[in-house]
C-alpha cells in the first residue's frame, strides 16, 4: 500500500513539475526556467548526497562518458515539454510524451542499443502501444 502511494506521488510530482516549468517559463523565459530549476534541484540533491554519500568518483569512472552526460538531455526535455504544454495543454502533452517514451524504449530494447540486453518484441507491447495511440486520437477527436 505504501509503495502504491509513493509511486502515485512520483507521478503527481512529474506532472506538477511540467506545469511549474511552463508557468516559470511564461514569467522569465524557458531557458531561464530550465537553468534555475536544474540548479536548485542539483543543489538539493548534492546536499542529500553529501549526507548519505552513496557513491564515489571511482564508481563514476567505470561508466561510459556518454551515459554520464545523459542528464544534459534534460535541457531539451524541459524546453520541449514546456513548449508542448503551452500549445496543446497538459493532458495531450503527457499522453503523447508517455507513448513516445514507451515506444522509444521498446525500440532500444528490441535493437539492443546503448549496451542494453536485446529483448524479444512481445505481442502485448504492440497491443499496448496501439491502445495508447487510439486513446490519444480519442483525446483529440
Amino acid at each position: 500500500m505504501k509503495g502504491i502511494v509513493f509511486a502515485f506521488l512520483a507521478g503527481a510530482f512529474i506532472t506538477l513539475q511540467g506545469v511549474a516549468n511552463a508557468r516559470i517559463s511564461d514569467a522569465i523565459g524557458t531557458w531561464q526556467a530550465a537553468t534555475l530549476t536544474q540548479l536548485t534541484g542539483f543543489v538539493a540533491a548534492m546536499l542529500i548526497f553529501l549526507f548519505v554519500r552513496d557513491g564515489t568518483a571511482v564508481q563514476l569512472k567505470q561508466v561510459h562518458p556518454l551515459y554520464l552526460m545523459g542528464g544534459g538531455l534534460a535541457a531539451f526535455v524541459i524546453f520541449s515539454n514546456v513548449t508542448a504544454i503551452q500549445h496543446v495543454g497538459v493532458t495531450l502533452t503527457i499522453a503523447s510524451l508517455l507513448i513516445a517514451q514507451l515506444l522509444f524504449t521498446f525500440v532500444i530494447d528490441g535493437m539492443g542499443w546503448f549496451g542494453v540486453k536485446k529483448q524479444k518484441i512481445r505481442l502485448p507491447q504492440i497491443i499496448g502501444i496501439l491502445l495508447m495511440a487510439a486513446g490519444v486520437v480519442m483525446l483529440k477527436m
Binding site: 509503495g3 509513493f6 509511486a7 502515485f8 512520483a10 507521478g11 503527481a12 512529474i14 506538477l16 513539475q17 506545469v19 511549474a20 514569467a27 531557458w31 531561464q32 530550465a34 537553468t35 534555475l36 536544474q38 536548485t40 534541484g41 538539493a44 540533491a45 542529500i48 557513491g55 564515489t56 563514476l60 551515459y67 554520464l68 545523459g70 542528464g71 544534459g72 538531455l73 534534460a74 531539451f76 520541449s80 513548449t83 508542448a84 500549445h87 496543446v88 497538459v90 493532458t91 502533452t93 499522453a95 503523447s96 510524451l97 508517455l98 507513448i99 513516445a100 514507451l102 522509444f104 530494447d109 542494453v116 502485448p124 499496448g128 495508447m132 495511440a133 486513446g135 490519444v136 483529440k140
Partner: protein, 159 residues
C-alpha cells in the same frame, strides 16, 4: 497543434533515452550520486543552451516569484518517491502506477486550470481517451512481462 505534438513526442523520446543512460550510471553508484550528477549535467546544458540562444540576456532581471526558487525541489520529490515505490513494488509495477498517476493528474490539471494554466473543459470523451491510454500502459507494462526492461530498471526524470 502540430508543433505542440512534435515537441511532446521529442520530449518523450529524450526521456526514454535519458532513463537508459541514467540507469547505466545507477548500476555503478547510488541513487543520490546519480541524481546529483544528472541534475548537475541538466543545469550545465541548460546554462549553455540559454547562453547560446539569449546571450547575456539570460541573466536579465525578470519578475521572480518566491516559489520559482523552490520548484527544482520537485525533482528531488520525484526521485525519493520513485525509489521508495520501486523498493516496495518492483520497477514494472511502480512505473506503471507512476505513469497512470501522471496522466490522471494532467487531466485534472487541465480541467481545473490550476496555477494559472488555461482551462481545458472536461469532456467524457477525454476521460475515455485517458482510460484507453491507461489500459494501453497496463497491457504494455504488465502483459506477459517476465523480466523488467531497461526503461523500468531505473526510472528517473530529471526534467
Amino acid at each position: 497543434m502540430a508543433i505542440g505534438l512534435f515537441f511532446a513526442v521529442a520530449a518523450g523520446a529524450l526521456v526514454g533515452m535519458q532513463n537508459v543512460f541514467n540507469s547505466r550510471v545507477n548500476e555503478r553508484t547510488g541513487s543520490w550520486a546519480t541524481t546529483a550528477l544528472v541534475l548537475g549535467m541538466g543545469f550545465a546544458a541548460s546554462l549553455v543552451m540559454g547562453l547560446v540562444f539569449e546571450g547575456a540576456g539570460l541573466f536579465a532581471p525578470k519578475p521572480m516569484e518566491m516559489w520559482f526558487w523552490f520548484s527544482g525541489l520537485i525533482g528531488v520529490g520525484v526521485v525519493t518517491c520513485l525509489v521508495q515505490g520501486m523498493k516496495r513494488l518492483g520497477p514494472t509495477f511502480a512505473v506503471s502506477i507512476m505513469m497512470i498517476s501522471q496522466l490522471s493528474f494532467a487531466l485534472v490539471w487541465d480541467t481545473f486550470g490550476w496555477m494559472g494554466l488555461e482551462k481545458v473543459p472536461f469532456t467524457w470523451q477525454q476521460l475515455i481517451g485517458v482510460l484507453v491510454i491507461v489500459s494501453g500502459i497496463i497491457v504494455f507494462k504488465l502483459g506477459g512481462a517476465k523480466e523488467p526492461n531497461t526503461e523500468t530498471k531505473t526510472k528517473r526524470q530529471a526534467g
